[in-house]
């Protein structure tokens, strides 16, 4: 490979006001990973460069950094694949306080994981002499989440976390999925209850940064949608977000004999989301009036698609679809 300019973030909280990018020039050997390059920089060019690493085989989760602005495992990234116009930028993970160079304070990350009570609460109602039985099919439901290596890449790049440090965050939610769906766990409902609270699973915006940055099969967004489906299927719908989901279901597919329109009813949806909360409904008034004044308000008579009967029929078999989808 030709010479590459590595722009690496340097910072020492004892002496520096803010981080700066320092340039190192290196000709990475054939097949070198970014971790190899960071080590070459440290061992040959600047011994003071500090970063975490250990297994160099993408299983310990130590070496996550931001590469060209996005979280990745340095050990899992070929240097050649990271070069843009002869340069690679390497910075610390986001959403956490910086300590030194590429090292951030992970405590908020671990704290988020701890909040979901990430341990099995065994269901001891059935007695087994040896291991508890779990079908291959049931085990597969928790397989993806169990591949998480706690590298905090998702936590770093989570958009909601940027505005709400109390948000549980993608890693914790993925971890929670692994217990909610574990047939051996006794606390599925309590867990869903906990996750359904504010700053929980419903606060995710689907921005999909987590799944995009995840270096394993854990793919937190997928796990979050599984948690939401579990809550909906269990009828745990007493919150704005779940009612918002019901609003979709009802306005597209119909509700209690009233046929759906096949489309979203943008007048119904916000009101439905607020449930019986008078404060919630009142909060919709300013924007409603504003939109009305600009003739931007959705039509009062909902737009109904042609052949809507087909869609209504699908929604009438809602439970069967859910069951079939479970397979």
């Amino acid at each position: 490979m030709a010479e590459v300019r590595f722009l690496v973030s340097k910072y020492n909280s004892e002496t520096d006001a803010k981080p700066r990018l320092q340039e190192f020039r290196l000709d990475p050997p054939q097949g070198a990973t970014l971790l190899d390059c960071l080590n070459l920089i440290k061992w040959k060019l600047d011994g003071t460069l500090s970063f975490r690493m250990s297994c160099r085989s993408a299983i310990c989760g130590s070496c996550a950094v931001r590469v060209n602005g996005h979280a990745r495992l340095a050990c899992k990234t070929q240097a050649a694949d990271a070069v843009i116009d002869g340069r690679v930028t390497i910075e610390p993970l986001g959403n956490m306080t910086l300590i030194r160079d590429l090292v951030v304070d992970l405590e908020p990350f671990w704290a988020s994981v701890e909040k979901v009570r990430p341990w099995l609460v065994p269901d001891d109602s059935k007695k087994y002499e040896r291991e508890r039985l779990q079908s291959h099919h049931d085990q597969l439901k928790i397989d993806a989440a169990s591949t998480c290596i706690m590298c905090a890449s998702c936590f770093s790049d989570c958009n909601v976390m940027e505005v709400d440090p109390k948000f549980l965050g993608p890693a914790a939610l993925a971890k929670a999925q692994r217990f909610v769906f574990d047939t051996r766990d006794a606390e599925k409902w309590d867990r869903l209850e906990l996750l359904g609270q504010i700053h929980g699973m419903w606060d995710c915006t689907h921005c999909a940064e987590c799944s995009t940055r995840c270096p394993t099969d854990a793919k937190p967004l997928e796990r979050i949608t599984e948690l939401r489906r579990a809550a909906m299927a269990a009828g745990m719908t007493d919150n704005n977000a779940a009612r918002h989901v019901l609003g979709f279901r009802e306005s597209i597919g119909g509700f209690k004999g009233i046929g759906g329109s096949g489309m979203l009813n943008e007048n119904y949806l916000p009101v439905r989301s607020m449930g019986l909360s008078i404060g919630g409904i009142l909060s919709l008034i300013p924007v409603g009036l504003r939109m009305f004044a600009r003739k931007k308000n959705p039509p009062l008579i909902p737009h109904v698609i042609e052949k809507v009967g087909e869609v209504r029929k699908m929604f009438r078999r809602f439970d069967e679809y859910n069951k079939e989808g479970e397979k």
Binding site: M53, E131, Q139, M150
Partner: protein, 570 residues
């Protein structure tokens, strides 16, 4: 000074398992240079052995015998018997704690074939079994957080061991640079192995034998250090582990002539012979010019297993080969070579993991060790695949129980905090104030080159003497090693220098032990003494540090209870 009842050093399977055993009963601290989930136990892939007999008529007896035979009869049979007997209950416990195991058609823990095991005995979680077990214990550690204090990213500097008793440790907070003394009634090491001294290694950067060397410097002898396992399937050039499960599931080893060469070395077990035999077979093929394209690697071919089986059972190794070599094993064979993998030797302990200090098995008061840093010895001269996770779980558990019993009737002994801190400070200051001439990187590279060339899969007196001389020079050069980072916060350059000092010193012990042992047994293969010599060498090495820093060797007998040594054929 911090005081706890028990201080555990190391947060891998052994350390965490011991901590959980004691949580809530005594005041436990866990010290680790990484966060628990980063520990190298998580990198183990293929499985954990236990005679669950889920898919065969397996028995503890059979597991016991396979382990002893695999060890080339150097294992202590009382210990091997205990490990194999405790295996099913230990694995059942891990399952109950929540470990996500792969399942068979009846919903039981699935089991697969593994090298040297006569039955499908490896319980597994796809090809990330260590990860599944480690994270189960990590989860439990969060459950017990109120009862256990975690010191993550603290580096172990010394063991305080006086008059036959361990009294605590000194450590450095990597994050802040501060030094601390921890006083404890009981010290328990689960600090892992020492495979980083080789050029091609599957080990994490962290596997630098810190615990082992800390004990050694405190006056504890080390057992069987010359026995380093070379895993047959390290990813070419990197040494990254390609699980033995790849062979367990039916993978073929193929040389440059396209031959499945294992029939020359282990006709009946073929690729599923124990690791020492397979690694030597590969090295012989390579040495005799039958590597791929005449180079220093061979192939593992998985193509005939088919896409579905590979994706379901070997997803991690497939991804690793894609990420590191751009090879998808569904379509192409993977280039592999032997890679330094496991340390059979370590801190000598009895079957309850209490450290022993001499040939007469005198116990060290308040000092326990478990897992790869220890030598019970259950693996003897060669560990069978899947017995290491088992070792860490079984003996982590036993260590926890024994250390708990000990602690309940022990009391804190006196520690001179100022003196201990002074010694630690002096060691760090020496590194920070050297004339800055020698590059740690050069020394480390030369060390690894030396060890791989002369103390690798095959060893001979000539090469070992070269290594001995080279190590002496390297240790001399290390005295003026360059540590340019003089800061306190996250000074990883300083930590790496401390690790390098450990690597240099234990490499010398490996070489001394290997040079003295004039036979071939298990992973220790002497070109000049190709036969096992039970008459003279059916014994464990004990290496001790002399006052002048040199190594002196002693020996202790092997415990043989049931199986008399016989020729090892596969």
């Amino acid at each position: 000074m911090i005081t706890h009842d028990v201080v555990i050093v190391g947060s891998g399977l052994a350390g965490l398992r011991a901590a959980i055993e004691m949580a809530g009963k005594v005041d436990v601290a866990v010290v680790s240079k990484v966060y628990p989930s980063r520990s190298h136990s998580g990198a183990a892939q293929g499985g954990v052995a236990a005679a669950m007999a889920n898919s065969s008529d397996d028995s503890v007896e059979s597991h016991f015998f396979d382990t002893v035979k695999g060890s080339d009869y150097l294992a202590d049979q009382d210990a091997a018997e205990i490990m194999t007997r405790d295996a099913p209950v230990t694995i059942t416990e891990m399952e109950r704690l929540g470990c996500v195991f792969s399942r068979d058609e009846k919903g039981r823990i699935a089991q697969r074939e593994f090298g040297g095991h006569s039955h499908p005995r490896a319980c597994y979680a796809a090809d990330r079994t260590g990860h599944a077990l480690l994270h189960t214990l990590f989860e439990q550690s969060m459950k017990h957080k109120a009862a256990v204090t975690y010191y993550s990213e603290w580096y172990l500097l010394s063991l305080i061991y006086e008059e036959g008793s361990a009294r605590g440790i000194t450590m450095m907070n990597i994050r802040t640079g501060e030094l601390e003394v921890v006083r404890a009634k009981t010290v328990l090491f689960g600090t892992g192995g020492y495979g980083r001294a080789f050029k091609i290694t599957s080990n994490a950067f962290a596997c630098t034998g810190d615990g082992v060397m800390t004990a050694y410097r405190a006056g504890i002898p080390l057992e069987d250090m010359e026995f380093v396992q070379f895993h047959p399937t390290g990813l070419y050039g990197q040494g990254i582990l390609m699980s033995e499960a790849a062979r367990g599931e039916g993978g073929y080893l193929v040389n440059g002539k396209g031959e499945r060469f294992m029939d020359k070395y282990a006709k009946s077990k073929m690729e599923l012979a124990p690791r020492d035999i397979v690694s030597r077979a590969e090295q012989t093929e390579i040495n005799e010019g039958r590597g791929i394209g005449g180079k220093d690697f061979v192939h593992i071919d998985l193509r005939h297993l088919g896409r579905e089986k590979i994706i379901e059972r070997l997803p991690q190794i497939r991804q690793l080969a894609i990420d590191f070599l751009g090879v998808d094993c569904i379509d192409k064979p993977i280039p592999i070579q032997p890679t330094a993998h496991y340390s059979m030797g370590g801190i000598p302990v009895d079957v309850d993991c209490q450290v022993i200090t001499d040939e007469k098995k005198t116990k060290a008061r308040g000092f326990f060790a478990a897992g790869e840093c220890s030598c019970v010895s259950v693996h003897g001269a060669n560990r069978l695949g899947t017995n290491s996770l088992l070792d860490a779980c079984v003996f982590g558990r036993r260590a926890g129980k024994a250390a708990l019993d000990y602690t309940l009737s022990a009391r804190h002994e006196s520690v001179n905090e100022a003196a201990e801190l002074g010694k630690a400070r002096k060691r760090l200051d020496a590194l920070l104030s050297t004339p800055e001439t020698e590059s740690a990187n050069d020394i480390r590279n030369e060390l690894k080159e030396t060890m791989s060339n002369h103390a690798g899969v095959y060893r001979g007196a000539e090469g070992l003497l070269v290594a001995k001389a080279a190590l002496k020079l390297l240790r001399e050069r290390f005295k003026s090693v360059r540590v340019t980072d003089k800061g306190k916060l996250f000074n990883t350059e300083l930590v790496e220098a401390l690790e390098l000092s450990n690597m240099l010193e234990y490499s010398e012990i490996i070489v001394e032990g290997a040079l003295a042992r004039r036979e071939s047994r298990g992973a220790h293969a002497r070109t000049d003494f190709p036969k096992r010599d039970d008459a003279n060498w059916l014994k464990h090495t004990l290496a001790r540090k002399n006052a002048d820093g040199s190594v002196s060797l002693g020996y202790k007998p092997v415990v043989i209870t049931k199986y008399q040594p016989e020729e090892r054929k596969y």
